[in-house]
Amino acid sequence: MLCYARLGDHLGIPNNRSGKLPDNLIEVRDLDFSRGDRTIFKNLNLTIAQGDVTAIMGPSGTGKTTLLQLITRQLNPDRGQVIVDGVDIATLNHRELYKLRQRFGVLFQNGALLTDMSVFENVAFPIREHTKLPDSLIRHVVLTKLHAVGLRGAAYLMPAQLSGGMARRVALARAIAMDPDVLIYDEPFVGLDPISMGVIVKLLGQINDALDITSIVVSHDVHDVAAVADFSYVIADGNVAAAGTPAELKETDSELVKQFMHGLPDGPVGFHYDAPDYEEQLLGKGAK
């Protein structure tokens, strides 16, 4: 049986939110971002509703992970704003930014577990860093979090001893260790077998509901994301190509979104990468 408990529950205090959160917890406004000469986003606007599971989807290389890095200010936009809980995060100093980040939990694509620590110590790491709880209480919290992802029995294994799916679940336990307001999943299904994928999908929905948090899922796995997402954005060509519930996206008229949602090999996103004329390249100029 899965059980979820907030860190505050162990301490006998209510959750760490300062008050009522706004309906749109995160807003991205008029955002531009480039890497060198390549434009990643141009005038991007989107909102993440509080309490929802919001999916950010799109073909590979469209900047989905980059968007997460902009939302968490690992990167700074060239123009525009990212507003989190009413605050433009570009205005925060180092200390304020780190304070804000304590409200985020991030599940990295590869888990990003600290390899010199055991599973237990990985989950305990943020708690030890940000609280002065006694070891006995930290043990209690960590085992509860690990129990929630089904890996209490693996508490004393090292990350190198875990399978990909187990590492992802440990990373999820670590991400929820500090009771975040926002949980960000970066490609949580990549490289997982169907059983592990099913476990992560189930945990994703359950954690969001049980802990009443806001989840952002970056993925190109349309079917699994559709099963848990309340709202989805499809990103392409530096902007939002479509937005809506998974059901609405399936009915869209946009050729690009149709191609993406139905996994068609050719369409607006071409099968071939931009290249010179095939015959000309093979046989030389003036072959015709």
């Binding site: 968490t72 690992q74 780190y98 304070k99 980040r101 304590q102 985020f104 991030v106 990295f108 694509q109 590869n110 990003a112 577990l113 600290l114 390899t115 790491f125 943020p126 860093e129 940000h130 670590r174 500090m178």
Partner: protein, 254 residues
């Protein structure tokens, strides 16, 4: 061609400036890290220092032996083989000891630091720390920097002591130099300023070698090739910097 030279020079200045800023931030964080994360610093002293002991001691023994051999064979021509201890002492304490220890440190501990931090970056561990609101500069970089800075003078002292023993084994036990002359001549000539010069060098080399190793790992391209290149750069940059500072400090003490 001039444009390429200009771009390369501009990149060099940019990187050098960024490295200086990185160094200043590490120095500013040092007191708080030393107090709040002493266990991490102690572990890094073990990691960079204690684990380098074997290579330092073996090298010290052979370098001392070679120094004793060369000093004896040269001085013998002037019937001055009793002064072998002076050459071994001055050479090891003021010059060879700190320099070779720093070069060995760059090859053993420096490369380990760079590749460890580089791999942490490549596997998103540094990003994960940032997202957990834990500053990787304080948690990863500064303890390793301090570990290197503390280890280097200790390793240099051990290298020098073993080196003197190696020179003693060759000159006294093997070639027959009088044991009293060997140690007494050394004691007469070596003064506190010579030892101070050796200590100054080892501290400066410790700062240089640790800064370069941590910087290269922290700023490596997060790929297998990028980490490999960063590790190579650590050895090359540290070696050149150590030899440069060795010359500068030697000139300063003359």
């Amino acid at each position: 061609m001039f444009r390429d030279i200009y771009i390369t020079f501009e990149q060099f200045l940019h990187n050098f400036g960024a490295m200086c800023l990185f160094f200043v931030r590490m120095v500013l964080y040092t007191p708080s890290v030393f107090v709040k994360r002493f266990r991490l610093v102690a572990y890094q002293v073990y990691n960079a220092g204690a684990l380098s002991l074997v290579v330092i001691m073996i090298s010290g023994l052979f370098v001392g032996g070679v120094l004793g051999l060369l000093a004896y064979s040269s001085l013998e021509q002037f019937n001055a083989e009793d002064t072998t201890g002076i050459f071994a002492g001055l050479g090891l304490v003021k010059g060879i000891g700190p320099v070779i220890t720093a070069l060995l440190f760059a090859g053993r501990a420096g490369t380990a630091l760079t590749s460890e931090i580089g791999l942490m970056k490549a596997t998103d561990q540094l990003s994960a720390m940032e997202m957990m609101a834990v500053d990787p500069l304080r948690y990863v970089a500064v303890p390793r920097f301090l570990g290197g800075v503390i280890s280097m003078p200790l390793l240099t002292a051990i290298f020098t002591a073993i080196g003197l023993l190696g020179a003693h084994l060759v000159a006294v036990e093997q070639l027959g130099v009088d044991v009293g002359s060997y140690w007494q001549q050394m004691q007469n000539v070596l003064d506190m300023e010579d030892i101070q010069e050796g200590i100054t060098k080892s501290v400066v080399f410790g700062v240089v070698a640790s800064s370069v190793a941590v910087w290269e790992g922290y700023n490596s391209t997060p790929t297998a090739e990028g980490v490999g290149r960063a590790t190579t750069r650590t050895v090359v940059v540290t070696s050149i910097a150590v030899l440069f500072f060795n010359y500068m400090i030697t000139a300063m003490y003359l």
